[in-house]
Symmetry: C2
Subunit: 450 residues, 2 copies
């Protein structure tokens, strides 16, 4: 036991996080393999159990089987638990359990949480984690009650209405993208109320926990008339988040105006475009079959999914701040400036290099995945690019090829969902061991570039 | 006249380079529109004349018309002249003409040449330019004589043999990728001698002029027993150049072993893979119809074309040094190092940021082009990605869609070839005006990333 403890203490935070996620996947595989999870007579292969477990823990939502056809009611509750566990973050829940048990949280554990939610400050972390869990569960309960009550007109019994409402609220808030309707939100394509509630829940889950906390602190400070300043992180990620939402809506509207929207009214078109744009920010639910879109639209959606959600949220991808910092850097570079300024602040040069490293590595991984899937799968390059972007962004949209993937193809998508969830930074730290310190230096020499 | 002079003197080097390229394109359009250029009875649309002019000046080699069916013998000589002009670089030729006219080269002109060939030192530039022109013309003459003499067995008359040999040598050395066989090098698919000569000429053109100069200096220094050190640029670009050549050959061999190479002998397979790999480093000639390759191979070739050739060469793309610096940066980043070291030297941090800026902008431009072409053209995403990578890398390979492109599609490819040739750095400088100096600073603030 002391040897195990010693081993754990020698692991870096990133390595511990990955170990915990692997254990969470294994437990999920166990839970999903229980006979009570499945409907009578349903059997599934191990690779599909593993795929579903990783998809649920990483809250991606890509599905190789139909959830309502495969899961019993008990199974649906188990799935909801796994989504909750994955979505809020194993470390958040872990902290909470430790708190419940009255344990004091040591620096090692705090650093663990830090890597999982990418916090750059350790102070007040335990308080933060309690806040996260309370906020998320409160959002889910309110959302579930609203949707469940509203669903009373849709479903025959109140039990089914509230089960559907609760599952929809959990799936939306954790941005899991799973559905128990069997057709995502397509049955609600004309129901703008359900869509609006879903978009609000998706956004609250994907906007980033620190943003929610700061919003709460902001309203508290107004009550007490204290001075409050939003952090650069909050300003940057919120602007990018809603900027991408608007860009996606406009792009989808313009690109499909003569195709998918040709026979739709303006408000139908707007809601189709708005919902599908919002869902790339990481929900993965859909009010239509996305494969009906044309290639340009699918390419734009792929990029939006690849970008993903805010850091410190339930979402994956390269994250909004990474893209925002790179765009601001390019603007400064073109203007010949040395420093990158925004919102009356300057970025740390290290954060710029970090963003570049994340972007390059993510592109490299996704490109490799596209090439590998082109070898193993018979689908079009477009469908493969879309599937890879969706898995890496842990978004969960698909042009419909997920259940048809070969076993090797499923393994590749599993790996992408896993990397998308733990984040590129943790991934880089895991696959490399830190080298010797920069004690020596060579002469600098410029080279001819580009 | 003095107003014109004043205007020119107010332009930045990058703006002047672009102006000169535009003028060169216009002159080429004029030359290609001459009746003597065309075979009797041939007519072509303006967009095709413009496309051919840009393709020739940027030595890309994408063709909307068949060269032997369209051009008269005079036209072929005119085309060879344009390729020479574009390949060696307008500034190189310009310098040479100035030298011939006995003009003294002022600092303004030197800076022009500097931007065109991306030189980081102004000293000895005029000597360098003379060297470039002499070396390239010498290579072309030797190559033309060897190929022409060898072609005596292929062609009925010695005139045709030497015309074919000379054109092939110019097209290969300038990496133009145009052919007057009508089928690129497919007639020589079994002729390993012709292929080897072509690969040597392609490499000499694309390896970067400073490398050739340093090689010459190295041999001179061995004669005189002086100490000579190759520059970091030469070591880096040469390693990357040949590394990509080997990687491409192995990748194509492995990916096609059960497809295109299934019915080929080992030496046929090797030469097909080796030639097609080498040609992505920017020749654009081919010994086969590349659309016979499977999608994974086409994706790998697309990336190789996007990377392109060495800076300060006849080639385009993001350039070898850009990719090498980013890969070395990622390695250092993963090892937690602050500085990037290679060959007992350290990179200037500014060069790392520059490489990142080039890579991001290039990806952004190419992605936008893929989306736009997906709107205007009916072809598969794979064929469009391949065409875009080929145009931006000024490589000239195609899956065969070039002549079928719509006029808007042709304009997009024209823009890509142009940007690929002038280089992303010049492009960035052109579209942006320098902002005010960094006289003021804001507090630095870290944000949560990835
Ligand atoms: K999702
Ligand atoms: K070329």
């Amino acid at each position: 036991m002391s040897i195990l403890k010693l081993r754990i203490e020698n692991l870096s935070p990133s390595q511990l996080i990955v170990s915990f996620y692997i254990i969470a996947v294994l437990i999920s595989v166990g839970l999903l393999s229980l006979p009570i999870t499945l409907k009578p007579g349903v059997e599934w292969e191990f690779i599909d159990v593993l795929f579903t477990a990783v998809s649920a823990i990483s809250v991606t939502g890509l599905a190789v089987v139909s959830t309502p056809d495969t899961f019993s009611t008990t199974g649906i509750f188990i799935l909801m638990f796994i989504l909750q566990f994955g979505g809020i973050g194993i470390m958040t829940l872990g902290t909470f359990f430790w708190l419940l048990l009255g344990k004091k949280i040591g620096l090692k554990e705090r650093q663990l949480i830090k890597t999982d939610q990418n916090q750059s400050s350790l102070s007040g972390l335990v308080r933060l984690m309690k806040n996260i869990l309370l906020i998320i569960v409160a959002i889910e309960l309110v959302g579930g009650l609203i949707l469940g009550t509203y669903f009373l007109t849709y479903f025959p019994t109140w039990q089914e209405a509230y089960l559907q409402g609760m599952f929809a609220a959990v799936s939306a808030t954790t941005n899991a993208g799973f559905d128990i309707t069997g057709q995502s939100l397509i049955p609600f394509a004309q129901d703008y109320f359900v869509q609006t509630v879903n978009i609000i829940l998706l956004t609250l889950g994907a906007i980033g926990f620190p943003v929610l906390i700061e919003l709460k602190d902001y309203y508290l400070s107004r009550k007490t008339r204290k001075i409050f300043r939003f952090s650069l992180y909050t300003k940057l990620t919120t602007t990018t988040f809603f900027g991408l939402m608007v860009f996606g809506t406009v792009a989808i509207l313009l690109l499909e105006i003569n195709h998918f929207f040709a026979d739709k009214t303006w408000h139908e078109s707007f809601f189709y475009a708005f919902f599908q744009s919002s869902t790339t920010r990481n929900g993965g639910l859909a009010t239509m079959d996305v494969s009906e879109f044309t290639n340009p639209t699918l390419l734009v959606i792929s990029v939006l999914m690849f970008i993903g959600a805010s850091p410190s949220s339930v979402g994956g991808g390269v994250r909004t701040t990474t893209v925002a910092i790179i765009l601001l850097f390019l603007y400064s570079f073109a203007r010949g400036r040395k420093s990158v300024k925004v919102f009356n602040r300057e970025f740390d040069p290290e954060d710029i290099l970090k963003s570049m490293a994340i972007m390059s590595t993510a592109l490299f991984i996704c490109f490799t995945a596209v090439v590998l899937l082109s070898i193993t799968e018979p689908f079009s390059t477009m469908a493969i690019i879309f599937e890879v972007a969706s898995a890496f962004g842990t978004t969960g949209l698909s042009m419909g090829i997920t259940p048809e993937l070969s076993s090797v193809g499923k393994m590749i998508i599993i790996a992408l969902m896993f990397v998308g969830r733990i984040g590129i930074l943790s991934f880089i730290t895991i696959i490399s061991k830190p080298g010797p310190e920069d004690r020596y230096h060579y002469p600098r020499e410029k080279v001819i570039i580009g």
